[in-house]
């Protein structure tokens, strides 16, 4: 395997990791707000804050890791994405800043503030929408290179059916993943009223998720036929993803094996995400950067991979410790510690 392929695979894994952990976080924000509006917040809040407080920083690092790694392995992305994404990127930073810091502020009593809850819920949906811009423009056709540098074509972006279907897909999948996780967590905590509530959310958001996946696929065929065709070549990967989707929804519908249901959700997105990524290659940003043209020099790539392996040896045990102490410690989950 060539080092640029190792590089992009590693980065894709981290983006996938971010997709899962951040979705749980972002969706929870929306549900917390929604529960408040429908006067069910007392059911939800305890559950959400017990899981999210210890891990929000870790969620953030997944994201930092991805973009630092991307610029490291493929420095050309810094130029093209940096030039074109100044506005969407800055908006994403601002939203993340509001959310991250208010997380900490919240622990000390702003929880009852309606405006804060609104921000918390709204950022949860706006962050995935603004971040998805980066994926949208990677398909090509949204930026142009002139003598004055690279510019993002806002009109094209805002009138494209493809970009809107990506935004829609991002938002509904966030809600779906989050509800699925919360159902699992509520079940572990033995919190019946919360489980009943989030189980409804999970089932509700499952159908828009699968519909949005299909419409995004169709919009892709309009936007970038080449990519669409290579995605069709990987049809079986997307097929496996749909199969896992059906398993997950079935288990939650039956009200059993919530843990396995969430594992299925993770596999559903793993396959869909890697199918999308693989069919995207060799381009990182059409038509400017391919993985071989944009990759860093060999010495740097190798040292990044070495550091990456060393880093994982440190991170994986630490993450397991974190999860054992909070996620899988039955007493903690139930609120006894």
């Amino acid at each position: 395997m060539s080092y640029e392929l190792i590089g992009i695979t590693v980065l894709w894994f981290f983006l996938y990791g971010y997709l899962i952990v951040a979705s749980i976080d972002f969706g929870a924000g929306f549900f917390a707000y929604y529960a408040r509006m429908t006067k069910k917040d007392h059911i939800m809040n305890q559950l959400i804050s017990r899981y999210l407080s210890p891990v929000w920083e870790v969620t953030n690092v997944f994201f930092v890791f991805f973009f630092v790694g991307l610029v490291g392995f493929f420095p050309d992305t810094a130029y093209y994405y940096g030039q074109s994404l100044l506005i969407p990127g800055s908006i994403a930073i601002v939203l993340i800043a509001i959310r991250g810091s208010f997380y900490a502020f919240e622990s000390y009593g702003s929880k009852d503030n309606a405006f804060y809850m609104f921000l918390y819920g709204a950022t949860g949906l706006l962050i995935p929408a603004s971040l998805s811009t980066a994926l949208t423009i990677s398909e090509g056709g949204f930026i142009e290179e002139t003598a004055n540098g690279v510019q993002l074509l806002y009109r094209e972006l805002l009138t494209s059916p493809y970009s809107w279907s990506v935004v829609f897909l991002a938002i509904v999948s966030v809600l779906y993943i989050s509800a699925m996780f919360l159902a699992y967590y509520a079940n572990r905590a033995g919190d019946e009223p919360a489980l009943e509530l989030v189980r409804k959310y999970a089932l509700f958001w499952s159908s828009p998720t699968i519909i949005a996946s299909l419409t995004t696929f169709i919009a892709l065929s309009q936007q970038n036929y080449d990519h669409y065709e290579s995605a069709l070549d990987l049809w079986w990967v997307f097929g496996i993803s749909v199969a896992f989707f059906m398993i997950a929804v079935f288990l939650v519908y039956q009200g059993k094996y919530y843990g396995w249901a969430f594992v299925s959700v993770m596999f559903q997105f793993l396959f869909a995400f890697f199918g999308y990524g693989a069919s995207h290659l060799p381009y990182i940003l059409r038509p400017f950067i391919t993985i071989s043209s944009g990759v860093t020099n060999e010495t740097m790539a190798i040292s990044l991979i070495v550091v990456f392996i060393a880093g994982l040896c440190l991170l994986i045990p630490s993450l397991i410790l974190l999860m054992r102490l909070f996620l899988f410690d039955a007493d903690y989950v139930k609120g006894k510690k």
Partner: protein, 453 residues
């Protein structure tokens, strides 16, 4: 004209983000060290005062660290958004330390999360203390890695430049460039110093206005001791940094010192003003001290600013930044030493009003010194973004929307700053240490009340 404006705004935006981030990053590196020390003393001496100290510091720290994390994320992304051409080129050489920094940050984030939520979960408190070690290591390593990147921009090496692309890259040589040792030493020691001084300042202030209890007096003694030790370290680091500058970046030292003509036995110019002909007036001159600062020899020749081509000279106002930074450093060293002398001399009262006010001031002053020092270091390498290879103007974005982003971020940092202060106030107001002590450790609380009386 238009391009000039974009560059200026890009610089201002980056400066604003970094100056705001520096406050929280400095505390982020330094405070865990003091928390860890206090918790350890608490366990060893079986003195709940120190444990409570560690707990309360940690609670405040959570808030500052959150702002540090989000502003750090902001600067991480802004590097590519505002300086795309720079990152495209330099990314080939500095990706390694940037990547390692995120690992260190990851490590710290995981253990900070665990540390915060496991205070009462272990039977033996030493296990909880163990969790503070990775937080300290992670924070300090983050500072180390990110400082190597900044060092690289000051003394780039580890590559060859061919037709605008870097070849024969050696990532380790780039990381361990000539500026790295002194810069890392100075950044880490001054972060520890500032955190200690800020915490000492808070303790002194509470004793002054609220007649603090035994708890606050213990806090003050511990933090002033730490301030003194870290101030010595920082002074050594600063001296080494000056010697480094004399050898590798003489124009930065010369501009900082208003040293125009190369000469032997150069004077150190302290404060003062410049007239229209760039002649120094109203300054205190310490004979031959600059030569000593630069080479450890009172008669050594120090290169003057006139040796540097005019368009490659940094602005001369950085002289004040240098002087303020150094003055504050010596003030902090002096006042903490004075406190220790008063404390050891049984007859003298180390809690006298003037001394306490002096200590209370070190908190905000050291934080200012951090900002002055960074401004000196960064503006001092103007006009370069990569000294000798790329100017700041060549690295900036060409996007016409930078000004709007500047306004947007100014508002965000204002909100974050106010939010941070309000939350800190909320945490500590109406929950004095005495009450918490009574609540958690009733026996110690009763004992210390007798002591106070």
């Amino acid at each position: 004209m238009f391009e000039f404006d974009t560059v200026t705004v890009s610089r201002s935006l980056t400066a604003m983000t970094l100056l705001f981030h520096a406050i929280f990053a400095t505390l982020g590196v330094g405070v865990p060290v003091l928390v860890s020390i206090a918790e350890f003393i608490g366990i060893k001496k079986k003195d709940p005062h120190y444990t409570l100290l560690a707990r309360r510091w940690t609670r405040g720290y959570t808030i500052t660290v959150a702002v540090g994390v989000v502003t750090g994320t902001a600067i991480g992304l802004q590097l590519s958004l505002i300086w795309p051409s720079f990152m495209q080129i330099a990314g080939n050489v500095i990706a390694l330390p940037l990547f390692m920094e995120t690992f260190a940050f990851f490590f710290e984030a995981i253990f900070l999360g665990i540390y915060l939520y496991t205070w009462d979960r272990f039977k033996n408190p030493i296990y909880h203390w163990f969790l503070s070690i990775p937080v300290v290591i992670g924070g300090t390593l983050s500072a180390f890695f990110i400082t190597t990147v900044n060092s690289f921009m000051n003394t780039p090496q580890g590559f060859e430049l061919e037709d605008g692309r870097f070849t024969s890259v050696d990532p380790l040589a780039a990381m361990f460039n000539p500026a790295t040792p002194t810069k890392v030493f100075h950044v880490i020691s001054s972060s520890y110093l500032t955190a200690a001084a800020v915490l000492a300042g808070i303790a002194a202030f509470i004793i002054l206005v609220k007649k603090g209890s035994l708890y606050h007096k213990k806090a003050l003694k511990l933090t002033v001791m730490a301030t003194f030790l870290f101030a010595i370290l920082t002074a050594v680091a600063g001296d080494l940094s000056a010697k480094f500058l004399a050898e590798y970046q003489p124009e930065k030292l010369a501009a900082g010192e208003w040293h125009f003509e190369s000469e032997e036995g150069a004077d150190l110019v302290v404060f003062g003003t410049l007239n229209e002909d760039n002649e120094v007036e109203n300054a205190i001159r310490i004979p031959n001290a600059l030569s000593f600062l630069a080479y450890g020899d009172f008669n050594a020749e120090v290169e003057g600013l006139n040796e540097t081509p005019e368009e490659e000279r940094p602005p001369l106002w950085i002289h004040y930044m240098f002087d303020f930074m150094v003055s504050i450093g010596f003030y902090t060293l002096g006042i903490s030493f004075l406190f220790l002398v008063f404390w050891k001399m049984k007859k003298w009262n180390e809690f006298n009003k003037w001394l306490l006010w002096g200590i209370a001031l070190t908190g905000p002053l050291t934080m200012l010194a951090i900002e002055f020092g960074w401004i000196y270091a960064e503006v001092g390498r103007q006009p370069w973004i990569l000294r000798g290879f790329m100017t700041v103007a060549e690295g900036a974005t060409t996007s016409p929307y930078v000004f709007e982003m500047f306004v947007l971020f100014a508002v965000v940092y204002l909100v974050l700053g106010i939010g941070c202060l309000l939350t800190l106030r909320k945490i500590f107001k109406g929950r004095p240490a005495e009450l918490e002590l009574e609540h958690r450790y009733p026996q110690t609380a009763a004992a210390s009340k007798e002591d106070d009386a």
